[in-house]
Each structure stands twice: as C-alpha cells, then as structure tokens.
C-alpha cells in the first residue's frame, strides 16, 4: 500500500528528491535556500525528521540521519581495521593512536570503576565508547552536520544493552532473589526506612537508569545541533537580509558558531565518556556486594 501512495505523486516525489539531495550535501545549503523567502527561520525540532531518501512511508524509511549513521559506522570500523591490520609489537603512528584511545577506556573507565572485574566488561565498554564517539562527532563534521545519536533510537538501543548487561550480570552473580535483595534493600539501613527506600530503588534500577542514559545523550546532541543551526542560520540572515549595522552582527554570530563547533567537539567526547562511565558504574553497582 505505501508503495502505491508514493507512486501516485511522481512530480512531488521528484521535487522532494532534489531538495533532499541539497540537504544531504550540506545543511548550510538548505538554509541558504530557505532564506530566500524572507525573514529569519529559527531552527525547530523538525530538523531531526528530514524527508526520506528510500522506502518512504515504510518502517524501513531511510533518511539523512540514517545515512550519516552508516557513514560513521563504516569509517569507525575502517579506522580500527586499518590500525589493527598490521599490528606490531613496536607500534607505528596509527597503531599508537588507536592504542592510546583504547587504553583510555581501559585505564580511565573500566579499571577505575570495575577494578578486577574490568576484563569481562571491557569489550562492551570499549564498543559503546567508540560507537557513541563516532556517532556524536558527525554533528560537527562538515557535510554530515548532524549527530547520529540525535534521534532517540540509537541511544535507546545502547542503553538497553547496558540495562540487560547490568541486570543480567547482577542476577548471574546473586541469583534473582539475591540480586533484588542486594539492590533494592541496601544494607545498613534501619528496616522501617525500607518503606521509603525500596520504591525509590525499584524506580532507579528498573526505570530511571536506562531512561536517563538514553535521554541524556539524545538531549545533549539535539541541543548542540540546534545551537549550531541557530548560530549559522542567524549568520546567514544577518549577512544576506539585514541592513546597516545589523549586518555586522553576522560576524558575532559566525564567531559564536565556530566557538560552539569547538564546544560540540568537547561535548561529543564528554558524552561518550559519561555514558560509558555510567554504564560501568551501573554494572559495578549490581555486581558488588556492598555499595
């Protein structure tokens, strides 16, 4: 059925395709085009729901953000294959950088939080860290210009992975009842306080932890992208449409745009770090006897 609907409006679809090509090539181009009909267009949440490229109106709808995700994943895998293909005992330059990055996750996150349990969870933490970093950093790469993690689906998937792992490893260690007892009834608390603490802990363990993990990452990326779009579309407005002294404001907003681009690079790394750190913390909370 959806196919028939798409075919019934060929002219429209053709127009969409052209517009989409523009927006795929560069978001900036799109703003330049939209500035023509006058006035300032502030960015909105519709930024994150671009028109589809393939399979429109099906559940496999493939849009610009999906394309960005595929590009990020391919580049990430390619970089690591490149670094690992001719791994030597005395590392070359590329291998050295890869080893430093991998070491960061191992030393700063896994060993620091999980201690002697780190080895078992290291592959998962490393994968999560580099996946998030790659999908975040596309937000500031020219021509991609949107973070792969700025739509809720990807962060939810990663958060679910963490959720299953920390519940699973806790239950494997203590058994179902033991795990619930350890995590919902913290030791060293007077028994009547359990009336207050246990419901809060239930919400924490089963709802808030995974939800906040995903939400934090998505909201950060959405906010970052909107900030950048605001700065650059304001620059476009000031330079192209404003008159007189207002034109000079374009310089300020352009500078702010560059500043925020640098800031977004920091945020991309920081969010990858925070997500991985919290994943490690949640795992250590569910497998340690006392916390």
């Amino acid at each position: 059925m959806p196919c028939a609907r798409t075919r019934s409006r060929p002219r429209h679809a053709d127009h969409d395709d052209r517009e989409l090509l523009l927006s795929t090539i560069a978001t900036i181009t799109q703003f330049a085009a939209s500035g023509e009909d006058g006035g300032f267009h502030p960015p909105s949440i519709s930024e994150f729901f671009p028109t589809a490229i393939f399979f429109e109106d099906t559940i496999f709808e493939f849009n610009r953000i999906m394309l960005v995700r595929v590009v990020a994943a391919v580049v990430l895998i390619w970089l690591f294959v490149l670094a690992a293909r001719r791994a030597k005992l005395v590392p070359g330059r590329g291998q050295n950088i890869a080893e430093m990055a991998l070491d960061f996750v191992r030393v700063q996150i896994a060993d620091e939080i999980l201690g002697h349990n780190a080895r078992k969870y290291l592959p998962m933490l490393t994968t999560i860290f580099f996946a998030i970093l790659a999908f975040n950093i596309t937000g500031v790469i020219p021509f991609l210009n949107i973070a792969g993690t700025s739509l809720f689906g990807l962060p939810v998937l990663l958060a679910l992975w963490v959720y299953v792992v920390y519940l699973g490893s806790g239950m494997k260690k203590f058994g179902l009842v033991g795990f619930l007892k350890v995590s919902l009834f913290p030791a060293g608390v007077p028994w009547f306080l359990y009336v207050l603490i246990t419901p809060i802990e239930i919400l924490q363990v089963f709802v808030f932890r995974p939800v906040t993990l995903a939400l934090r990452l998505t909201a950060n990326m959405i906010a970052g992208h909107l900030l950048l779009v605001l700065c650059f579309s304001a620059t476009n407005f000031f330079f192209v449409e404003a008159t007189g002294a207002l034109k000079a404001m374009g310089v300020v907003s352009l500078a702010a745009g560059f500043g925020f681009t640098l800031f977004e690079m920091l945020v991309a790394g920081l969010q990858a770090y925070v997500f991985t750190l919290l994943a490690a913390v949640y795992i250590s909370m569910s497998i340690e006897e006392e916390h």
């Binding site: 934090r216 959405i222 925070v274 750190l277 913390v281």
Partner: protein, 76 residues
C-alpha cells in the same frame, strides 16, 4: 462594561521562560559540585583522578535536569 483591558501584550513562547528557570537549579548544582571537587583536588592532589571520575558521575546527574528542561520544551 468590559472591565478587562489589554494594557500590554507579550508574544512568544512561555517555554523559553520555563527553560530559563530550569537552568537555575542545575547551574547552582554544577557550581557547588565542581567547586567542591576543585577544593578537594587542591587539598589532596593525589586523589585527583578519583575525584574527577566521581565529579563526572555527579555532573551527569545534575546536567540531566537541565536537559530535561530542553526536552520538556519540545514535548509540551
């Protein structure tokens, strides 16, 4: 007799004011959190790494509140 008269009119979205309010708490929280961590690092530089990690965990929780402010503006 129409007793309601418009003296001043304000256009725009009240969500912007809401977000301004939503940043107040996390702003204070981050200030205290990071300030105290710096204090702790200055007193005991040898545990700086541990303090930094703990700080980031705390920052993640505080920062989430401000981000919920952003999300709420889009949702409602």
């Amino acid at each position: 007799m129409d007793t309601t008269t418009t003296l001043a009119e304000l256009t725009g979205n009240i969500a912007t004011v809401g977000y301004g309010l939503a940043t107040l708490g996390p702003g204070i929280g981050l200030g205290i959190l990071i300030g105290k961590t710096v204090e702790g690092m200055a007193r005991q530089p040898e545990v700086a790494g541990q303090l930094r990690t703990t700080m980031f965990i705390g920052v993640a929780f505080v920062e989430l509140l401000a981000l919920l402010g952003i999300v709420a503006g889009f949702l409602f």
